[in-house]
């Protein structure tokens, strides 16, 4: 019965089309977007081929280096203790900048959320944060390395700066998701601003702030490695830079990559466990 019903529909000369699906603006946007991305990609592929490099030879050498990296990791110039120490330093840098960033961002986000701050202030804060976010982290670190001298302080300030701007946006959006009634309930009872924050806002946003901060920690760890390599501010990134760009020792690069991977996968496991725990409590 059902069978024949479907087959008769299939044989129908004009299968009933869903008119709303065709007029759907999302579908049209998707098509236009896909077409433009394809065009740009084709243009890039047509113009990208380097004229000074034989791709076959380069590809072979790349595969050879990957083989050295991933299948034959080995210590080179540095001892394992040195590398682990550098990894711990990078982790510490990420942790410190994330916590500083989250602390400052929480306060600033109170002045950025539209349901808490007056509109002109919120807009001004939003624009300022967008501006800071638009400047890549590495530029902040380079500038501060020039001003306060090469060292950990430059990395701390540079990474914190970007973390604050990122977290203010995320936190403010979490604040704005708090139902207005919840805030009003305390306001009409005559509660001060600080009490509204403490008893209405904080309990409802705590899980989302925690997960945003953790996401930023993962980003900051990646950044701490990158900054060590590109601005020479130390940590595991510096060793990575020296072993690959200075000593061309890809076996050591492989070992460092495995060290970083081990920590990153540990982080991912913590994140999954945390998300499960939060899902249970909410």
């Amino acid at each position: 019965m059902i069978e024949s019903d479907i087959s008769s529909q299939r044989r129908a000369p004009h299968p009933p089309a869903a008119p709303h699906a065709i007029a759907n603006p999302a579908r049209k946007t998707t098509r236009i977007l896909l077409a433009s991305l394809a065009l740009i990609t084709l243009y890039a592929l047509a113009t990208i081929a380097p004229d000074n490099v034989d791709l076959g030879v380069a590809g072979k050498s790349f595969l050879h280096n990957l083989d050295l990296m991933f299948l034959h990791p080995h210590l080179g110039q540095d001892t394992l203790a040195q590398l682990v120490d550098a990894l711990v330093r990078s982790i510490a840098l990420a942790l410190l900048t994330t916590l500083i960033g989250a602390g400052i961002a929480f306060v600033l986000a109170l002045f950025t959320a539209r349901n808490l701050a007056p509109a002109p202030l919120a807009t001004a804060m939003r624009s300022l944060m967008a501006l800071i976010r638009a400047i890549p982290t590495i530029l902040w670190v380079l500038v501060y390395a020039t001003v306060i001298g090469l060292g950990t302080e430059a990395a701390v300030v540079g990474l914190s700066f970007h973390s604050v701007a990122y977290l203010v946006k995320a936190f403010a959006e979490s604040f704005e998701a708090v139902p207005q009634e919840k805030l009003d309930a305390l306001r009409v009872s005559g509660a001060r601003f600080s009490l509204v924050i403490r008893h209405a806002l904080w309990p409802s946003v705590r899980p989302s702030l925690l997960s945003w901060t953790f996401i930023r920690f993962e980003i900051n760890f990646t950044n701490a490695v990158a900054v060590g390599a590109a601005a020479g501010t130390g940590g595991i990134g510096y060793y990575l830079f020296m072993s690959s760009a200075f000593y061309f020792d890809f076996q050591e690069v492989g070992l460092i990559v495995y060290l970083v991977l081990a920590f990153a996968i540990l982080l991912e496991m913590i994140a999954v466990a945390m998300r499960k725990h939060l899902a249970k409590t909410v």
């Binding site: 991305l37 990208i48 000074n52 280096n65 711990v88 890549p136 902040w140 501060y144 996968i265």
Partner: protein, 264 residues
């Protein structure tokens, strides 16, 4: 009454313990890294001042504008191409790895493991190893961006595909549709909006990261900034920063707008 007191007591202890852990997490790295906070605090103001004084683009810097815009354009085109191609590869991988579209548990595991590793290999390593083999040119930057995007997109696509309701797939299965018909007619139309929005987000992110990748691989806008910065041509470097700000904000606005339309 005693129970209530106990409850508050426990809450107080929990709060104290949380604060202790937080303080420890803050003090420990500070002690390990020997950060001089006074130095750092002084640096914040000094850094802005220094930027305002040295990075103001001048007449000479405007002469570099052509070169800067050219490199910026190349960087955007390469970031878009790398992300788009990574998107196609990631979609194929995700189809093989998502529980809804693949019936091979071993392949699912393999795809997840691959994505997780690719996501977490520091891109500094990719950039530098690629630079050694492919030398300093746009293609190296392209490959670096491609390799660092693929892990992220595969994971995001797997998660998106797994949100497709079983019913959509079963409905097509009972009509006798073949695998690619189910994917093409049932699965992809259902998730095209979130997939596109992930792709846009990654393009936005990659244009941001292109500065750093460019510094490491000696290509595009990152290279030109590094060049000006290290040869003390600060006004030109300032112009590069302004150009990056303009493009990043423009891309962020466009991508947000497009994602809003897609979500409808």
């Amino acid at each position: 009454m005693a129970e209530l007191a106990q409850f508050f007591n426990r809450q107080r202890w929990q709060r104290a313990a949380t604060l202790m852990v937080l303080a420890l997490l803050l003090v420990l790295p500070q002690w390990l890294l020997h950060v001089d906070f006074a130095d750092a605090l002084f640096g914040i103001g000094a850094g802005w001042q220094w930027l305002g004084k040295n990075f103001m683009p001048n007449q000479a810097a405007l002469g570099d504008l052509g070169e800067i815009l050219h490199q910026l354009g190349r960087t955007i085109v390469i970031a878009v191409a790398a992300t788009s191609i990574a998107g196609v590869v990631a979609l194929l991988l995700a189809l093989a790895g998502a529980k809804t579209t693949s019936r091979l548990p071993l392949v699912q595991m393999g795809v997840r493991l691959f994505a997780s590793c690719m996501r977490n290999i520091p891109f500094v390593a990719w950039a530098l190893v690629l630079l050694f083999s492919f030398k300093q040119n746009d293609f190296t930057g392209f490959l670096a961006l491609f390799l660092m995007t693929i892990g992220y997109l595969t994971r995001a696509f797997v998660e998106t595909l797994e949100e497709v309701p079983r019913g959509v797939i079963e409905a097509l299965e009972v009509t006798g549709a073949r695998y690619w018909q189910i994917i093409g007619q049932g699965v992809l139309p259902a998730v095209s909006a979130p997939l596109m929005s992930w792709l846009l987000y990654m393009i936005e992110n990659n244009i941001r990261d292109a500065t750093l990748v460019g510094m490491l691989t000696g290509t595009g806008i990152g290279f030109i900034f590094d060049l000006y910065f290290k040869s003390f041509r600060y006004p030109s470097a300032g112009l590069v920063v302004l150009a990056i700000i303009a493009v990043t904000i423009a891309i962020e606005l466009t991508s947000t707008k497009l994602r809003q339309v897609l979500a409808q």
